[in-house]
Point group: C2
Chain length 687, copies 2
């Protein structure tokens, strides 16, 4: 540690203090405590070029304690990280300006309250909800290992990046972090380093009021290497810890750093340092302590930016330059692989990726959509070599296993395997998928729809970050049958549909499953949830009914009223589309013209032009029956004031499906009756 | 171990095998493997009287691996546990009959696919979603310790029950279990015993494909005692393990039992034993192995039921009799305390529990509903001594701390404390609250509304079980401000409202907060979610506006159109009620009569008679504006085809609230404009 190091660390602290003070809110204490560690990592170890923050082989830095965002903003500013546009072009302008720091937490600033992916370049993942960052970092490390296994060739280490995550006490308490740590230990992710910023303070007080476990021992139990830094301010010890990580080849590493929240301020080591500005006097006292000018705000002493230029800047530039040179040779030696990595970086699909998509002939018996989806997934995966994923221990049930030759299992001794065994860890599964998508693989994960509840917070982050994760959920209704209400989703569909930015698909048959995957595979910036049946569903005859390509518009007229002028609309998704078709027949026999509208994806339908929407759901036809084996919540948008919904109003029950359908009223007769009542109320014919 | 023990164990196995085979679906392997442990626990240790399965001081048995429900059904049948009616009266009939076992997993059977609380007596909590049972058991043990601290007196150990949870590999992988185990270790819950049924098999295969951590070491790190049973069939070793637990006074105990899934069957130790019937041949082979008659189904050999009678039956009866005798004396010595325990058991409130509820005078500045709720909570807690709870490390922000004298902190050395420090463990917090409610305390827990996502699966269980947990969520909208979209709920309200059985309250001011708590405190069998603001809200003048008691009906006319005949309805909840009132003024100035309807609880409103609903929302007034800082999803139910919603369509942003309100259109002007447009479209006056 030399004087310039100290000066740089204290400059970071000063910027954080000032930004929080200026904003009038925020979290000054964590950056003050952990700045020496973040500085050492960035300046001495991180293989990252500020001139190209999306260089594919960069080390990833995840600020899992996202409330300490000022720390990241300061580093992005001081290292001169450049901005990137939404199409992955590096721009000339900086990611963060001094003005952004001055407008920390204000509308439009590149320095928001928490790091937001795609809003500020240099942010590798959105963080703030605790535990998510570290869990996501496991997915990044898994992706790194997979990329290395697939693309590296002798003499061409195209991918060998490391993943660092900085986490606080809160992250260590969250279950999702425990799940992810267990998984990382299993996979022996030696390219993963978590830095545990242990300042022993949380919002309610000292951690010893509730968190007295031995974290180091816990991580050893997970199979991690653990090393400790007794004082965050001891830059030599910090340096040694990172070298320990670099030298480790068999295990992920936890660096347990004892730090002092609000270090150097009057509120050091107290909960007051966590979530509020230091106040004018506190700011002055801290700056005095650090030997900084007390009344100069956002002060960057001479030499500090140059110091970063000579450190991370020079190292990053050199690493990237030599990598680029190496990659040029690689492109000649291994053109097909190089082309793939390029497609990956641009989130494109290979040509003819959909060549193997199956075609399903009409079949009254049919197959479960989980089954057809599994077949289609395999076809897509053969066309898109970097489509990888797995299940939270339910692959035999969710049918998401890639079974073609060479797909293999992702394991420590088989890092190119494409099937992940994620364990009974739904939350980490979704977070790991997020991490893989952030490294630009195309990940999916699967579970029962009911257990989407466990993963909700991570699913939300995929939507908030606008990354194309594919969430595959099966056992989508009381169709689960005998396992009963604990396993039968009711309100999950509504909950997912209410989430901005998530496309929720509930296809009705194998034909719609193919079209769903066609849409989903091509998504660049949107996650999707597939909601699939456990039970068999007929494969519809598309020579009689409308083609399944209507899925791309979210909803479409599957079968119109026999006469062509519907008196009533039957709106349904998934398994209930078949119920609607049966009810349509029954109504036709009673001379009531019913149109069946299949609505596999509400979000896509809502985006269609009004003309199309009115064509599918003619405003003059107000007799409408929505049919779905789920909470009726939200259906009023489509059935309107004149309509009704045949849906679930309670939880389900444990029984064979047939008994449940009768018990909860999912019969053609009940649907037809509801339709008749609506038509009759309007004075229409009831035959 | 004697021959009768062996016979009884094998009888349990036989019943489980037959029940699954008869049902044609289910999970035979786990009961077969772990039956000796469950038998030993019930027969030799569990302080439980089958004649009174709701005896308050019974030991609790939680089947966290709920898919093994056949094991529990067999034990309930063989021990002759009696049924209990919904009003907590023990009935003469058995909880489970042989006919119920024969109709396992069929509609109406008392033996559903997973244990369901209140459906079958002897079920202490609904299980099936993995990890929930063990996490809930921590709440039960905390409740037991608290009850002991408050009610036991010298010579009167009224509460000293233990809590046992039987868990599989899946439970051990779930994050919620990790969170709960850490909390249990902190609290040194020596009354808690988890039995880890380690059969090394999950659905995807052997656990070593993803779960290779050292579980015992992990639990030691949490501060637990760990003991191991090398073979589940070694009844003496199992016996010793339970004695080890009983002797432990400082730590919770994990008994790690190595078991063989599908023991004795052709599929022993394979994933095939997990989730499907053994098949006719497999059933025969297993019975042959156990020395049971191969073709006799649901066979209970002579002497087995008598064996249980002499074991758990006699011990339970004696324990309960002596407890009852002791409690009689206690009732004389400590009548007030005895009366309290009686109210607790019947889920009643003390008289005058609401005597201290505050009254809020009109105040244009007002206070945040999180603040008024904190004050009201304190008043309720003073009136209801067994209202206990805490926060997932956010009490200073959620304002849920009980601050009156004597409230104290629940800690190992302060077991009568009423404030829980739950740590940054939202999921376990909700599960722990479930456990406390199952022991019939009145628990609450709190967090930010956004983090309800983390706890979703446990919140759902409170609704499914119909237990009166109070979920307190603050920071309820973009009102969060600078922390930005990761912390600003948007879709959470819709998700909670879609959940059957959960009452969701979003009060508009301190007056509505008081009335919300009045309703919530009196709930017997429903959980509630309180959704509260971070920012200040005016306290409304109820001499001018309608009284806040309208909360009890879910929605009410807060302010009618000045002329009394509204042209437009402004429907709002929480902070947006004030926006509606301001818009009403603006519209009045333009001679448009607007009625403001406050809708704090949709679920209660939906239960009102049609007359009341039509009175509040007159069908003839179709110009309706819904206003809520949340996803518009679901609002169509109230605004109808003629209405519109001023709500959120995207995620929020990081900025001070005032900037956000403007950016997202939550201004009186925008609301008034929306109202004018609707009125105008109907040809009404727009001034």
């Amino acid at each position: 540690m030399n004087d310039l190091d100290t000066l740089a660390v204290n400059t970071v602290r000063g910027l954080c203090i000032d930004a929080v003070q200026q904003a009038g809110s925020g979290h000054p204490g964590t950056p003050m405590g952990i700045a020496p560690v973040a500085y050492t990592l960035w300046q001495k170890f991180l293989r990252f070029d500020p001139q190209d923050p999306i260089w594919p082989n960069r080390d990833r830095f995840v600020l899992s304690e996202g409330h300490a965002s000022a720390l990241l903003w300061s580093l992005l500013y001081l290292t001169g990280v450049r901005a990137v546009d939404p199409d992955y072009e590096v721009l000339g302008r900086p990611a963060v300006t001094l003005e952004d720091l001055r407008t920390f937490r204000q509308l439009g600033s590149r320095c928001p309250g928490h790091p937001e992916y795609r809003w500020t370049s240099g942010v590798e993942t959105t963080t703030g909800p605790l535990g998510q960052g570290v869990a996501t970092s496991v997915g990044m490390a898994m992706a790194g290992r997979w990329l290395a296994a697939r693309y590296n060739q002798p003499g061409f280490p195209v991918f060998d990046f490391d993943v660092y995550a900085l986490a606080g006490d809160g992250c260590m308490m969250e279950g999702v972090a425990s799940e992810a740590a267990s998984l990382a230990g299993h996979h022996k992710l030696a390219n993963l380093c978590w830095i545990y910023d242990s300042n022993r303070i949380t919002i309610e007080g000292y951690t010893d009021i509730t968190f007295t476990e031995d974290v180091a021992a816990r991580f050893l139990a997970y199979g991690w290497n653990v090393t400790t830094v007794a004082d965050a301010n001891d830059l030599n010890a910090v340096d040694r810890a990172f070298r320990t990580f670099r030298a480790e080849t068999e295990r992920p590493t936890l660096i347990l750093v004892h730090s002092h929240i609000g270090y150097g301020s009057p509120v050091e080591d107290t909960p007051k340092a966590h979530g509020e500005p230091l106040g004018a006097e506190g700011v002055r006292a801290a700056k005095r302590f650090f030997g900084m000018p007390e009344d100069e705000h956002f002060h960057v002493p001479d030499g500090v930016r140059q110091c970063f230029e000579r450190g991370i800047g020079a190292r990053g530039a050199e690493l990237r330059a030599s990598w680029t040179k190496m990659f040029d040779s690689y492109s000649h030696a291994w053109p097909a692989l190089a082309e793939e990595t390029d497609l990956i970086q641009r989130r494109r699909l290979p040509e003819a990726w959909d060549a193997l998509l199956p075609d399903y002939p009409p079949d009254p018996e049919g197959l479960a959509t989980r089954d057809s989806s599994g077949q289609v997934l395999n076809a897509v995966a053969r066309g898109v070599p970097w489509l990888v994923g797995g299940s939270a221990d339910l692959a035999p049930s969710t049918k998401t296993r890639l079974t073609f030759e060479g797909a293999g299992d992702f394991q420590p001794d088989e890092p190119a395997g494409r099937n992940h065994h994620l364990g009974v860890r739904e939350h980490a599964s979704a977070a790991v998928a997020n991490g893989m998508a952030l490294v630009k693989l195309r990940p999916y994960w699967s579970g029962f729809l009911i257990f989407s509840d466990y993963a909700k917070a991570a699913i939300r982050l995929s939507a908030l970050m606008e990354i194309p994760v594919i969430h595959v959920f099966t056992h989508d209704s009381i169709g689960v049958g005998e396992d009963g209400p604990t396993h039968q989703p009711v309100e999950q569909l509504a909950g997912l549909r209410a989430m901005p930015g998530l496309l929720v698909f509930r296809p009705a048959d194998a034909g719609e499953v193919v079209e769903t995957w066609r849409v989903v595979a091509a998504l660049h910036h949107e996650p999707a949830a597939l909601v699939l049946s456990r039970q068999k569903l007929p494969t519809l005859d598309r020579t009689v009914l409308a083609p399944a390509s209507g899925v791309a518009r979210g909803a479409y007229v599957l079968a119109d009223a026999p006469s062509g002028t519907p008196q009533v609309l039957l709106l349904a998704t998934g398994s209930e589309v078949h119920l609607a078709l049966a009810a349509r027949e029954e109504l036709a026999a009673q001379d009531i013209g019913a149109r069946v509208v299949s609505m596999p994806c509400w979000e896509l339908f809502d985006r269609q032009p009004k003309e199309y929407r009115d064509e599918v759901l003619p405003p003059r036809v107000t007799a409408r029956v929505g049919i779905e084996q789920a909470s009726t919540f939200g259906w009023e948008r489509y059935v309107g004031d004149g309509g009704t919904v045949v849906g679930m109003h309670t939880y389900g029950a444990s029984a064979p499906l047939k008994q449940l359908l009768k018990r909860f009223g999912f019969t053609p007769g009940r649907v037809a009756q509801a339709a008749r009542e609506l038509v009759s109320a309007q004075g229409g014919s009831t035959a």
